[in-house]
């Protein structure tokens, strides 16, 4: 268990303040926030690379605030993976164990074991420069996990990967966590990553943790506008599953019943988060009969021009949606804040996210 109490770190003008945060053993915590929020600095403080001005960090009850990084048993995985170029994959992975003066055979066994889990057994003799981004990430994870740390700290682990590899590694990390039950703190600016990987999400903006909770909690009750701003792109909708029929789930949000698709069948009556991309929303002045299953009558709250596209913020009671339309249709429809319009989207545009 990692406990953070009353922590304050200062770097230049940025002050990072965390009153209280607890990460339980086996929990996958995601620290989410825009860039410049101080997420990496917070992570580096937990790792021991930065000294806080005040406050305490405890690992399993032991105060480690003033311990150097090598005495904390926390594995740090930086954004660029930082594999050592002068060692092959095997030596990279074995490094932490070699420091522990364990006999060679045991090290060899453990390296093969973790390489098997990570599906990198065929890479052991290769040097980092020859690896792809996804392979590097697997090696970095193997190197971090092999020492059986109290926690692993992942700094934007998916940000340097292309979309396809990113999704593969995301699924892989979820699988790995399920299998190995390690404790993790994962830093990201991507809400989808947070929802799909985290047991717990902490939102950090301008050095302050504004909200901590399960993905459902965080996205259902945005405590303040700054948190809500994070939903911006894409729309994340929280609701309750009230019916599942023919591959379509009906989720209840406010007094609306929306049809949504899913990858993994959700549990009836459970709370879920669903994603709706702004460009999938069709806006019309009158109620149109189309193939779209979801139609909401809402009010335009805000209009922002974004390059060639126009962003329309729509409100239905407390539900807020962002829609993106072309400048042409914006002018044709003569949209203005306060005007009532219909927002339609297909069931296939609203997708329930798979969570842990």
């Amino acid at each position: 268990m990692i406990e953070i109490d009353n922590l304050m770190v200062k770097v230049g003008d940025l002050k990072i303040e965390v009153d209280k945060m607890i990460i339980n053993n086996g929990e996958y915590a995601v620290l989410m926030g825009p860039s410049g929020a101080g997420k990496t600095i917070f992570l580096e403080t937990i790792a021991g690379f930065r000294t806080p001005i005040k406050g305490e960090i405890k690992i399993n009850g032991k105060n480690v605030t003033n311990l150097p990084p090598d005495k904390r048993n926390i594995s740090y995985v930086p954004q660029d993976y930082a594999l050592w170029p002068h060692m092959n994959v095997y030596d990279n992975i074995a490094y932490g164990l070699k420091l522990k003066k364990i006999d060679k055979e045991k090290i060899h066994k453990k390296v093969l074991e973790i390489a098997e889990i990570m599906e990198i057994k065929n890479l052991l003799n290769r040097y980092p420069i020859t690896l792809s981004g996804g392979e590097k990430q697997r090696v970095a994870l193997a190197r971090a996990l092999i020492i059986d740390p109290e926690a692993i700290l992942l700094d934007e682990p998916l940000s340097n990967l292309d979309t396809k590899t990113k999704n593969q590694i995301k699924d892989f990390i979820a699988y790995l966590h399920k299998k190995l039950k390690f404790t993790a703190i994962h830093v990201t600016h991507d809400p989808l990553e947070a929802i799909e990987l985290g047991n717990k999400i902490a939102i950090m903006i301008k050095g302050k943790v504004l909200q901590v909770g399960s993905p459902i909690e965080v996205f259902t009750n945005p405590k303040n506008l700054e948190v809500a701003w994070l939903h911006g792109k894409p729309n994340i909708i929280a609701g309750e599953v009230i019916e599942i029929k023919e591959g379509i789930a009906i989720i209840k949000i406010e007094d609306l019943n929306l049809a949504a698709i899913y990858d993994k069948k959700p549990i009836l009556g459970s709370k879920v988060l669903a994603i709706l991309r702004p460009e999938d929303i069709i806006i019309s002045e009158i109620f149109l009969k189309t193939s779209a299953r979801n139609i909401i009558k809402c009010v335009i709250k805000e209009i922002n021009e974004k390059g060639g596209l126009v962003s329309i913020k729509l409100g239905y009671n407390a539900l807020e949606l962002e829609a993106l339309i072309t400048r042409g249709s914006y002018e044709d429809l003569k949209l203005l804040p306060g005007k009532e319009v219909y927002a339609s989207f297909k069931a296939s545009a609203l997708k329930i996210l798979t969570m842990k």
Partner: protein, 284 residues
């Protein structure tokens, strides 16, 4: 003198290598007059540097060179140059490594001031450096007295030569080692620390192996600089006589031709060092 120019070229190259990006746009494209003017002026400086070497090589003949090779005094002086040079370069590199690591990993007040002070030996007249060393380390001065009591007397001894060489060549090993450590990404060290390696272990297993190429280049640069030193050595310890000093002595006593043939032998040593440097550069 020639050698010094070559060393300068090498430093410039090393710095260019650290710059990001390549020259995509060439200012010489479709600019004939401009290109002509600049390459004309450039060839003057190139010729100025190369022609003296050609004259040096042609002044002497095979007979004079073979006579020099068979001359015991000449051969001994060249070996002494190499021996003292290797000692000087190795000692200064050994002490430069920790200093260079501190410079590359901390940003304390007055760091750049200290760094420029340490470059002073590169710009001061070498006779001046020699006087300063002699004043500090002669066996009647406190430090010198201590050193000679433990067997390192500098007057007319190998150690005097080594000290003089170290003084003028240490900036090279410091600067190159520092550049080497600066090129090692800090995150590589952070990971090692987080996996349980202490600061010393991290240094030995991660930072040092990754900087070693630059450190070797610095060592070779120091060696080349040490072997080429004359002024400081003549003042601190004229005897036993090293190659570069013997060239001067032969020039005054035996004449230009024999001095030139000894010069050719010394030049060969310098070229070997330069070739190794280029090889390291090329293998990068």
């Amino acid at each position: 003198m020639v050698k010094r120019s070559l060393i300068k070229i090498f430093i410039k190259n090393e710095k260019e290598n650290t710059l990001e990006g390549e020259i995509i746009f060439s200012p010489f494209k479709k600019a004939k007059k401009f290109l002509l003017l600049f390459s004309g002026l450039s060839s003057i400086i190139i010729l100025f540097l190369l022609i003296p070497i050609i004259f040096l090589l042609t002044t002497s003949d095979i007979e004079a060179i073979s006579q020099t090779i068979n001359n015991k005094e000449a051969l001994n002086s060249i070996f002494l140059s190499i021996e003292a040079g290797i000692l000087a370069a190795s000692i200064s590199t050994f002490f430069s490594i920790p200093l260079a690591y501190i410079f590359s990993r901390s940003n304390f007040k007055g760091r750049s001031f200290i760094e420029s002070l340490l470059d002073l030996p590169l710009v001061m007249p070498h006779t001046v450096a020699g006087i300063a060393i002699l004043l500090t380390f002669n066996s009647r001065a406190p430090i010198g007295a201590f050193l000679s009591s433990i067997g390192f007397r500098i007057e007319d001894s190998l150690w005097g030569i080594v000290l003089a060489m170290m003084y003028v060549s240490a900036p090279f090993s410091i600067n190159f080692s520092e550049q080497g450590f600066k090129n090692v990404d800090v995150s590589l060290e952070k990971v090692a620390r987080s996996l349980g390696a202490g600061p010393f272990k991290t240094f030995i297993t991660v930072s040092l192996p990754l900087a070693v190429r630059s450190i070797i280049i610095g060592w070779l640069m120091s060696l080349a600089r040490a072997i080429s030193e004359v002024g400081a050595i003549m003042i601190v310890s004229y005897h036993p006589i090293v190659g570069s000093v013997l060239v001067y002595e032969w020039f005054t006593i035996k004449g230009l031709k024999l001095a030139a043939s000894l010069s050719i032998l010394l030049l060969a040593v310098s070229f070997i060092i330069l070739a190794i440097l280029r090889l390291l550069e090329w293998r990068k």
